[in-house]
């Protein structure tokens, strides 16, 4: 292919997967997909190598889905696939790390042979079992698990599979709707790809794919080669479920690539905070890509230059049947650990640690509530991000997750809860030359003076986000119940609790760490923070 033709075709391929992701977003039923963007979409060559992935979506799916298609092809080799086939799985170890994520793969045929495969992943709100939360002891308790299987075979729906699925989830209509939307977005991608191949007179994607992966691989290695070779270690302790867990990383930069190994990290947990390797790889490589080669598109080439490993059956490479439902609460900490390694080679580019794990409680009615008092909502509250080397951290902002919050008014319309406060927590940002982002304080009661239940997957209640380069730690999080007399009863960060009637649930999300020594803070910035009431305390440390 000629240079210009390659460039145009690559450009077009990236537009096609973006369109695929848009179709998924617009048609999905689960709120987290439609509103929060918890999804992924991409196109693969017949060898199962990813050629392009939509930027729309959340990093947890980044190279977990990239690795998935090869697993599909291993079970259902190309030679056996035919037009109209659609494959499906929600296996945490074949897909993207927990049962709620369904990955759908669709082969595309041109002139009688498979020229590409489209894959897409989205989060389905309920998959049966205990419901979304960290409390299970194994994956069997967490819900229905579907091995890689046909959803459609030559255009005919696999009715048995569908019936089993619909019989095992609490909201079958939404689950069915979401599977159709995954199928539809792959179809949209396939149609656009065939159009493109016709427009550009391409019989297949072989030359284009080879050029894309070779160039991306080379560009990524070129970026890595500008970092000094060496071994860099970092460790971080976070709250875990019943006991703190440690994440240890060794980053080796040599020979134009990066190896990241999590040996020495805590053992697998008896609770659902374990992380399958694909999800570990996703967030670890996302951490690298935020700082190295962030303009290089995601594909098999650019992902190959960063290799991520963890010892079998540690917390970060949990094997089946470990419980994994809340794997995000640990997985989202990984970019901070990767940043800790990279800060040693890129001191002027790496932010401090942040709240990182999103606070996404499930609120629901207490057992025994009358039918017209029943509800389930799953709002998202974020803490602060770490201060950047040249500016303050972002207050109440999701990082590394790519999700959005839902509105308080909508939460109050769809539940009997009242959110009396949802406001910045002053002094929660770690002090420094640049201040960490602030966390928020949320106060919740039941409008009709009834008890309600909260399922928690919170972290950094004991272990704060640490500052960098002399910056101080961010404020820790807090979850507690406040009684009418003002007394506070702290709750654990993970698991379920009932909040009694006539009490107030108080959540404080963690703040981000500061960057640089606090005494170097610009006096105008300091004054602005005080005028805004973001910083109130008088005891400057």
């Amino acid at each position: 292919m000629q240079e210009l033709q390659i460039q145009l075709a690559w450009n077009r391929l990236l537009a096609i997967v973006e369109e695929q992701a848009q179709v998924l977003m617009r048609t999905a039923f689960s709120t987290v997909v439609r509103e929060a963007g918890d999804l992924s979409a991409g196109v693969f060559n017949p060898a199962g190598e990813m050629l392009a992935q939509a930027v729309t979506g959340t990093p947890g799916h980044v190279n977990s889905m990239a690795a998935a298609v090869a697993k599909f092809l291993k079970k259902y080799p190309l030679a056996n696939l035919q037009p109209g086939d659609v494959l499906l799985t929600n296996d945490p170890w074949d897909g993207t790390g927990h049962l709620n994520d369904f990955t759908v793969v669709t082969p595309v045929f041109s002139a009688g042979r498979c020229v590409a495969l489209f894959a897409s992943t989205s989060h389905i709100a309920d998959v049966g079992g205990r419901g979304f939360g960290p409390d299970a002891n194994d994956v069997f308790e967490e819900g229905l698990r579907i091995p890689i299987a046909y959803l459609f075979r030559a255009g005919t729906r696999n009715d048995v599979l569908m019936e089993i699925l619909l019989a095992n989830v609490r909201d079958p209509l939404v689950a069915q709707g979401d599977l159709y939307s995954l199928t539809a977005c792959n179809d949209a991608g396939a149609a656009a790809l065939l159009d493109m191949m016709q427009d550009l007179s391409l019989p297949d994607l072989d030359d284009l794919g080879a050029a894309i992966t070779a160039r991306s691989d080379e560009a990524m290695r070129e970026q890595i080669s500008q970092l000094p070779d060496g071994q860099y270690r970092y460790a971080m302790t976070v709250d875990g479920y019943d006991e703190p867990v440690e994440i240890k990383a060794l980053m080796q930069i040599h020979d134009r690539h990066i190896e990241l190994d999590f040996a020495g990290s805590s053992a697998a947990s008896p609770r659902g905070i374990n992380v399958p390797l694909a999800y570990t790889q996703a967030y670890a490589s996302f951490g690298v890509r935020c700082l190295v080669g962030n303009e290089i598109p995601n594909n098999a080439g650019s992902l190959a230059a960063v290799h991520v490993s963890a010892p079998l059956d540690c917390l970060l490479n949990a094997r089946s049947p470990r419980a994994v439902s809340a794997r995000h609460s640990i997985g989202q900490m990984l970019p901070d650990v990767v940043f800790g390694c990279l800060a040693q080679v890129l001191p002027d580019a790496v932010p401090a640690e942040g709240a990182s794990c999103i606070w996404n409680p499930v609120f629901m009615h207490a057992l025994g509530a009358a039918e017209d008092q029943q509800f389930v909502i799953n709002p998202i509250f974020n803490g602060g991000t770490g201060a950047r080397p040249q500016k303050d951290g972002l207050s109440t902002t999701a990082f590394p997750s790519g999700v959005r919050t839902t509105s308080t008014e909508v939460n109050e319309v769809t539940s009997p809860l009242l959110f009396w406060a949802k406001e910045y927590t002053p002094d929660s940002g770690g002090e420094g030359q640049f201040r960490g982002g602030l966390g928020q304080t949320v106060r919740v009661t039941h409008r009709n003076d009834q008890p309600f239940v909260i399922s928690k997957m919170f972290d950094r209640i004991v272990h704060p986000a640490r500052g960098r380069a002399g910056g101080l730690d961010g404020g820790v999080g807090l979850v507690c119940v406040e009684h009418a007399d003002g007394s506070l009863y702290p709750l654990e960060g993970k698991g379920r609790d009932q909040v009694q009637a006539q009490t107030t649930l108080v959540l404080k999300t963690p703040g981000g760490g500061g960057f640089g020594p606090a005494d170097k803070r610009d006096s105008q910035a300091e004054q602005a923070d005080r005028q805004a009431g973001l910083v109130n305390k008088t005891d400057r440390r």
Partner: protein
């Protein structure tokens, strides 16, 4: 005899056109940013003297302006405070708590228009069902406002939780503030944007409050100046929704004036579509910095209620301030004549969103720009006539363009300079095509087989190639393309739109309540239309914003013709709309309604207008130019648009020159001149 004047203030130029029956005469003057009124008057004087029209003969003045938008982008608005429910003062800053760019750790959300120390929580609380849980603490309120006034606050936005449902507390605040602090400007969220979702409602209200004093002052000065000149007619303002509104309504809700220019362009395209019986149209407006594309069906531009002002990060969705107002829905991307071409770490060509603008402008302007732009590429490919650019007022340097492309694109890629130029041009066309496809997909439409209507300085150059990429075989280029927005204002109806949020499960809908809502909205809209002097037939559009229970986004369901508003009818209409957008429906899932909207319009002008550029210079162009496609050159004939004959057809390759733009007719295509002087390019069946 109808004599009307239309004025469009843009970022660089102020366009003034006068319409005498079907004749339109236009002038362009530079926008005077210090006081835009003086630029307007200069243009008005110019066009009046050229046409010999007296101010008193003008029956209506139509006006659109980017002043509100610019004030927001440049943060030049009033000192604004926000009064909100205690415990929620950070709604504006927290926004959606997300990042609009995944891989960039250095992004910042746009700073709120109201700083935190002027965002004040007031004790009061209303529940989702409208019940008052805590009464408004009036003495706390008064003392808070007193403090704000002492600190120099000029304009106040009020946004309490659930005020779309129960506005009593906001209305009481307005009453108290008017009594005690009559000098303050005030904007209530229950009036500016009575819609559920506190961030969007408060963002819209704050933006309204922020531009209100400035816009009110400007509109007052403009009207006074026009009266002084001897104008005695009404002045109507163009809104972002593609309709005209009164000075009074514009002064209350100035936020509705943002993006009036692009909306005017869409109205022009809609009118052209109707005149040429094109049911399904993509309008394509390409200027120096951005391209705007809009879908038009049956003469109606796609409309919505979601818009973002000041997308400060590469025009990226989510990087701006959301405002919920009636808008002509369009996709805007950083692709214009001044868009800069560059190579990334993978040696891929990128075009835009950075633009060389008009200063220093593309390299070929010879004003100090050294980076390659789309205009530089167009020049090298033989699509621009160096001696004819901007009516001969700017002469273009082929050497400078060559140097820029050679140095920044061709050499690093080991391409010859013409291939590099072709690459830049193809990438920018591809970007616009991709944005159009994605936009159409988002709205459940297809662009293949529709008609492209192109206007704006750079659009006729790129229209044919864009059409090919979109599998569109017909391109229309109306006359007066350079002042499209101002002409669009002349064609727009008077329109007023209102929204009311009233959450209900569809199955439990109280039809009497909804009917009453619609009646109230119609009465309010009718007042505006009466005030605008819009007699004649009126068109009423009523829509419900609905979704399946649990979904994140509502869709607009047209219920205009449903007289009984029965639950079954509405459900069927919802399902039909849903299926059109997403290809299927979900049986048995409950539906919920969040809001209702009503829009009342006068009849739009259906007349076709003949446009003349009053400042056009005598043009002289060569007979033919060299066109380049990769390595091979061939000749394209050059024709002056003014010399083309109505009803005649001409075969491509052609370059058609006029003072404000250049039209490219590719090989294998033909161009015909329609009765209204529009150029109609028919593209051959393409192979790719």
């Amino acid at each position: 005899m109808a004599t009307r004047l239309s004025v469009d203030i843009g970022g660089t130029f102020t366009d003034v056109v006068i319409q005498q029956d079907s004749e339109v005469t236009s002038v362009k003057v530079l926008t005077t940013h210090a006081d835009p009124v003086s630029g307007v008057l200069q243009g008005v004087d110019d066009v009046l003297s050229r046409t010999g029209v007296a101010p008193s003969d003008v029956q209506l003045v139509l006006h659109g302006t980017t002043l509100a938008t610019n004030a927001l982008i440049e943060r030049r608005g009033a000192k604004t405070a926000l009064l909100t429910t205690a415990g929620h003062r950070d709604v504006l800053a927290m926004a959606f708590e997300n990042r609009f760019e995944q891989y960039d750790v250095n992004i910042d959300r746009p700073a709120p228009l109201v700083p935190r120390h002027w965002r004040v929580g007031i004790t009061e609380r209303v529940a989702a069902d409208g019940k008052t849980l805590l009464p408004l603490d009036e003495s706390e309120l008064i003392s808070a406002v007193h403090t704000l006034v002492e600190q120099g606050v000029e304009s106040i936005a009020v946004g309490f939780l659930h005020s779309y449902r129960q506005p009593a507390h906001e209305l009481r605040v307005a009453q108290l503030v008017k009594q005690k602090f009559p000098q303050l400007w005030i904007s209530l969220s229950c009036e500016v944007c009575p819609e559920i979702r506190e961030y969007e409602r408060l963002s819209t209200t704050a933006a309204n409050a922020y531009v209100k004093p400035l816009m009110a002052g400007y509109l007052e000065r403009l009207q006074a100046a026009l009266v002084e000149r001897g104008f005695s007619c009404k002045v109507l303002l163009m809104t972002s929704g593609g309709g005209l509104t009164t000075l009074n309504a514009a002064t209350r809700f100035p936020i509705r004036l943002v993006e009036s220019g692009p909306a005017g362009g869409a109205m022009l395209a809609a009118s052209v579509a109707q005149a040429h019986d094109e049911n399904s149209v993509v309008s394509f407006d390409m200027g120096g910095t951005t391209a705007k594309l809009c879908l038009i069906e049956n003469g109606e531009p796609q409309h919505s209620r979601a818009f973002e002002v000041d997308r400060s990060y590469r025009f990226k969705k989510g990087s701006g301030l959301p405002v919920r107002i009636p808008v002509v829905e369009m996709v805007e991307i950083g692709a214009g004549g001044g868009s800069i071409a560059s190579l990334d770490a993978l040696q891929r060509i990128h075009v835009g969103p950075q633009s060389a603008g008009s200063e220093p402008g593309p390299s070929c302007y010879g004003r100090g720009g050294t980076l390659p732009t789309v205009t530089d590429a167009d020049l090298l490919l033989g699509r621009l006539l160096p001696e004819n650019f901007a009516g001969g007022r700017v002469s273009l340097s082929v050497e400078a363009a060559t140097e820029a492309l050679q140095h920044h694109i061709a050499q690093p890629l080991s391409l010859n300079v013409l291939s590099a130029a072709l690459g830049v041009s193809e990438i920018v066309d591809e970007n616009m095509a991709a944005a159009t496809r994605a936009h159409a997909a988002e709205w459940g439409k297809r662009v293949q087989g529709t008609c492209l209507i192109a206007f704006g300085g750079a659009a006729p150059l790129h229209a044919a190639r864009l059409a090919q990429k979109l599998k569109i075989s017909r391109v229309l280029i109306p006359p007066g393309a350079g002042v499209g927005s101002a002409i669009g204002f002349l064609l727009a109806p008077v329109r007023y739109e209102l929204v009311r949020s009233d959450y209900a499960r569809l199955a439990e809908l109280d039809q009497a309540v909804v009917m009453q809502l619609f009646q109230q909205m119609r009465a309010e809209a009718a007042e505006v239309l009466d005030d605008a002097g819009a007699t004649g037939t009126r068109e009423e559009r009523r829509e419900g914003y609905m979704r399946y229970v649990g979904q994140g986004y509502e869709i607009a369901v047209d219920v205009s013709d449903l007289h009984s508003l029965s639950v079954d009818e509405i459900r069927r209409r919802f399902e039909k709309t849903y299926e059109r957008l997403y290809g299927r429906t979900i049986p048995d899932l409950a539906i919920e309604v969040l809001s209702w909207t009503l829009s009342l319009s006068s009849e739009p002008m259906t007349q076709t207008l003949q446009a003349t550029d009053a400042q056009a210079m005598q043009q002289s162009v060569g007979d033919q130019v060299q066109w380049w496609s990769g390595d091979s050159a061939f000749a394209a004939k050059v024709l002056l648009r003014s010399e083309l004959q109505v009803g005649q057809s001409y075969a491509g390759p052609l370059v058609i020159a006029e003072s404000q733009t250049t039209t490219i007719v590719p090989v294998g295509a033909t161009v015909a001149v329609r009765a209204d002087d529009a150029l109609c390019i028919e593209l051959a069946e393409q192979e790719g």
